[in-house]
């Protein structure tokens, strides 16, 4: 992880000197993670792809503003987070902060081959029942593996708020998934 961080920092340095190919390499390292983060946030692969492209473009345009290249990950996710919430507000200002229904989340229920269907459905349904802030906290912690301080940087709130959202979400998920976990 340290070696990878140094490599990212080196790529960022090259990008700052106008090396577009270095940025493409950086994108190739992060695009799948950012796409899945946005997919779990908004539920639509098309929206997730558009938001990913916008996020990477904004990151490219503002990379000189990144103070610490070692914090590229949280910084990039912060941009992706802002892009997602901007889209939420644009489309549904009155429901931007509420939980999206299963119907609205659409094709996220496409499953990978070999994944147990009942567990897949149960996990997806349980995540759908969380509100967007709780779901984002779970996604950043469980799927993206960020530390609390990094999550706070991405979401733009105190660590205490992050922990509160995450633990509330986990209590709900624990109850939702208890029957599945017992199998």
């Amino acid at each position: 992880m340290i070696f990878r961080a140094v490599e990212d920092a080196d790529l960022i340095s090259r990008v700052r000197h106008g090396d577009v190919e270095a940025y493409n390499l950086l994108v190739s390292r992060w695009e799948k993670r950012v796409f899945n983060y946005l997919l779990r946030l908004c539920g639509s692969p098309d929206d997730a792809l558009d938001l990913s492209q916008d996020a990477f473009l904004k990151a490219y345009q503002n990379i000189r503003k990144l103070d610490d290249p070692a914090r590229f990950g949280p910084w990039l996710y912060r941009i992706a987070h802002n892009e997602a919430y901007s889209l939420f507000r644009k489309r549904r200002p009155e429901t931007a902060l509420r939980s999206l229904s299963s119907d609205e989340l659409g094709p996220e229920r496409d499953r990978a081959p070999g994944f147990p269907m009942d567990l897949s459905l149960a996990v997806t349904a349980a995540l759908d029942r969380l509100n967007p802030e709780q779901r984002e906290a779970v996604v950043l912690k469980i799927y993206e593996g960020f530390k609390f301080d990094e999550m706070a940087e991405v979401i733009g709130c105190p660590v205490s708020t992050v922990k509160s959202r995450l633990y509330t979400a986990l209590d709900l998920l624990k109850a939702e998934l208890a029957p599945v976990n017992k199998r």
Binding site: V20, A112, Y143
Partner: protein
């Protein structure tokens, strides 16, 4: 709920400092409720993590952006120089391919050899023709010079014969005069 529940969750996600981790581990050894809660938390996280990532449907890439103006050297290398270098490489590769894959065709076509032979033959003919012409001219000039010289020689010979005839006449006259003078001298004594 046990008073250690907050630390227990932080412990589950490896967000506790080393000192507090040790305290939680000691508490877990003695508290069945917290051990059970930790198991449920880990099981829930494992169930969530079982949901796989999806592949991105389309790769993201950028060509260029004016926000980051490359250096002059980079611009040169990225434009003309690299294009020229690539063109030279393609040209060299094409020449190598032609050289190695079409040798028989090159040998089979005798056009350059035939052309050289033809030119050489024409040159030789022209040189021979010019030499012959020169030899004819030289022969004519030599013949004319000899004729002129012979003519002058004959004229000189004629002049010499005429002079000899005149001298012979003068000699005869002197001889006749001398013979007539000898008696005339003896009768007078």
């Amino acid at each position: 709920m046990c008073r250690h529940s907050e630390n227990l969750r932080d412990y589950a996600f490896d967000e506790l400092p080393a000192g507090e981790r040790l305290a939680v581990e000691q508490h877990l050894a003695a508290c069945g409720e917290c051990s059970l809660e930790l198991d449920r938390l880990r099981l829930t996280a494992a169930a969530l993590r079982a949901l796989p990532d999806r592949e991105i449907p389309q790769r993201i890439a950028f060509v260029s952006d004016k926000v980051f103006e490359p250096s002059l050297a980079a611009r040169l290398w990225n434009s003309a120089a690299r294009l020229g270098f690539a063109s030279a490489c393609v040209l060299a590769a094409a020449l190598v391919v032609l050289a190695y894959h079409r040798p028989m065709q090159t040998v089979a076509v005798p056009a350059p050899v035939s052309l050289n032979q033809d030119v050489s033959r024409q040159v030789n003919e022209a040189v021979a023709k010019a030499a012959a012409q020169i030899r004819i001219e030289d022969a004519k000039m030599t013949e004319a010079a000899l004729a002129e010289h012979d003519k002058q020689y004959r004229a000189q010979m004629v002049d010499m014969e005429e002079s000899l005839i005149v001298l012979q006449k003068h000699f005869n006259n002197y001889t006749m005069l001398a013979s007539s003078d000898v008696p005339r001298s003896g009768a007078g004594q």
